[in-house]
């Protein structure tokens, strides 16, 4: 194994975030009033790393003796994580004052979680996947329970921790079986062994356990139990992060094991499994979301449904599917960040419920926020001119190419169902008079508004030029 200085240059995004964490820790412990500085520091750091990742996107290489890869899709994931985290930093600035979690550790944990995600996306070795996953998950467990005095937040943290660590056991056991079957933890050598004559049954069992573990992290149907409670109980800015870039990170690990399979002899090995998972997630998420009265719970169930749409791309097991998922993840990240940003502004102090009814008459009280939320609801439901539509379009096309027509039809049907609950919010905002009881205070926050507007611009831009982005993803 030779370690050269180019290795370090190639993992510069990771080193920058790592150095950022150390600087933040040092600042936090020596200064009493560090939170304001740390929020802007994390924003600028993640923005810089996001820019650098896109700048070096063509620099495809393998570093540290095949433990990690950089460039190409990995850098696109870096961009999604870091740009998302920068928006989360903007959204958090005023929110964490309101939620009474005004501590510098919030931003340190945010940066550490992003570092974990980046490790996961760049890993080409199962051990690295595990390290990244744990770094991300532990930060999320802590962040979910950051409102120490709020019972719901504590419940969210405990549920997420217990179920999350249980499924981590599945992932490790899966990795152990894969190692037992193939004698290697490196993804490339595992799959080169797979394309040889016969594959031991142990390999399939191991991969199945691995997939189950990550289906928990992406919130797919039979493993979704934690999602509504955790998303509702966690501080809204944390929910925004978990549901968007956290999901993207888990998908990057699933793509890691699916991408080598695409080029192999038998690409559709796991298609039946993913088809069932995606169909169940879409239908379950869309139908249960209809009955929700709390906006965070509704967005949680919609998150389950969106995991289902993304799994269509994995079920297709072709290049269109893979690039479709990456596009969908980016689109979903920015539209959900915007939606949760608005929710974080409108939700009351303390235990006030974020019911959908409290959005009544928002168009009179704050037309700008109502307009932006309407935009995010349109794009989440997948209406044409925005990014959400093209995300769905690419995964449906992929599944048609793979000859899997009925799952695309099911996806379209479930989109139609989901349009009801997304558009219901718009109806409540514009056509319902606000009564005094629900007339809660909207937080004035320029930084949050900036974050929401940036998300909106990205969502519109991705809807206008989806082809060029998909071509960029496809070129690797």
């Amino acid at each position: 194994m030779n370690l050269t200085s180019t290795d370090y240059l190639n993992i510069l995004p990771l080193l920058l975030v790592g150095a950022g964490i150390l600087i933040s820790l040092t600042v936090e412990m020596y200064s009493k009033k560090s939170v304001g500085f740390l929020s802007w520091f994390s924003f600028l750091l993640h923005l810089l790393v996001a820019y650098y990742s896109l700048y070096t996107v063509n620099n495809v290489s393998s570093v540290f003796g095949g433990m990690m890869g950089t460039g190409g899709t990995v850098n696109i994931f870096y961009f999604i994580f870091n740009f998302g985290a920068a928006i989360v930093a903007l959204l958090s600035m005023d929110y964490i004052k309101k939620a009474e979690i005004y501590f510098g550790e919030y931003y340190i944990l945010l940066q550490s979680a992003v570092l974990g995600m980046m490790l996961m996306a760049s890993a080409t070795d199962l051990v690295m996947v595990f390290i990244g996953l744990e770094l991300m998950s532990i930060c999320f467990y802590v962040l979910a329970g950051f409102q120490r005095k709020n019972v719901r937040s504590n419940e969210a943290s405990l549920k997420y921790f217990l179920l999350g660590s249980f499924t981590t056991g599945f992932i490790v056991y899966g990795m152990a079986l894969i190692y037992g079957a193939s004698g290697s933890l490196n993804i490339q050598s595992i799959f080169s062994m797979l394309s040889a004559e016969s594959t031991p049954i142990l390999f399939y069992v191991g991969t199945l356990l691995f997939i189950i573990g990550f289906c928990f992290k992406i919130a797919a149907f039979p493993f979704h139990m934690w999602v509504p409670d955790v998303y509702q109980g966690a501080p809204t800015s944390v929910t925004a992060m978990m549901s968007t870039i956290g999901k993207a990170a888990a998908f990057s690990a699933l793509l890691l094991i699916m991408l080598p399979l695409i080029g192999s002899k038998n690409p559709q090995t796991f298609t039946p499994l993913f088809t069932v998972l995606s169909a169940a997630s879409m239908i379950f998420g869309s139908i249960v979301a209809l009955a929700q009265t709390d906006i965070k719970r509704m967005l949680a169930y919609s998150s389950i449904a969106h995991a289902g749409y993304m799994l269509i791309g994995l079920a297709a097991a072709n290049d269109t599917g893979a690039s479709g998922i990456v596009f969908y993840l980016a689109a979903y990240a920015f539209m959900n960040l915007g939606a949760f940003g608005i929710v974080s502004l409108i939700e009351g102090n303390g235990d006030t419920e974020g019911t959908i009814e409290s959005y009544a008459g928002l168009s009179d009280r704050n037309p700008l926020l109502a307009g932006l939320l309407a935009l995010f609801m349109f794009t989440l439901s997948g209406l044409p001119p925005f990014a959400g539509f093209f995300g769905k379009y690419y995964v449906f096309i992929a599944s048609l190419e793979a000859g899997n027509v009925w799952i695309a039809v099911l996806g379209a049907l479930s989109s139609a169902i989901s349009a009801y609950f997304y558009l219901r919010i718009i109806v409540v905002m514009y056509f319902r008079k606000s009564d005094v009881a629900s007339d809660n205070i909207i937080t004035e926050s320029h930084t949050s508004l900036l974050g929401i507007v940036i998300s909106a611009i990205l969502v519109i831009m991705m809807g206008l030029t989806p082809g060029s982005i998909v071509r960029l993803i496809n070129s690797f």
Partner: protein
């Protein structure tokens, strides 16, 4: 074959005799002045019988957690120290062996400093 295990059996036998002998000899030769405290089970100063759901001060958990962290540091540093000469003389690794551990320790000590600054080592 079995002969090679004879020393092992001897050690086991000696250990059993020694352990049983010392415990019994204290009963045989020592003065016996029992009271209730002496006869109860020794549990490092804790009450041996009581509710299992007793509330424990959070400081214990903090100490336990910090102990794990520093224990892990030793796990990484010890094999590195043992192998350092052979790593250093390997032309493919060289000074890299030194600097990577230095980097690890710097990262680690910043965490250590953080715990110190936040009062993690204060008992009161």
């Amino acid at each position: 074959m079995i002969e090679t295990y004879i020393p092992l059996f001897l050690v086991f036998g000696f250990a059993i005799i020694f352990a049983a002998g010392t415990v019994m000899s204290s009963g045989l030769f020592g003065p016996q002045r029992p009271n209730e405290e002496k006869l109860s089970t020794y549990e490092s100063g804790m009450k041996p019988v009581g509710t299992a759901f007793e509330r424990v001060s959070i400081k214990y958990y903090l100490v336990a957690m910090l102990f794990i962290i520093f224990d892990l540091e030793v796990i990484f540093v010890y094999p590195w120290a043992v192998q350092f000469i052979s790593l250093y003389t390997d032309p493919a690794i060289g000074t890299h062996a030194f600097y990577s551990m230095l980097l690890f320790l710097v990262v680690f000590e910043i965490g250590f400093l953080y715990v110190y600054k936040k009062g993690g080592f204060k008992w009161d």
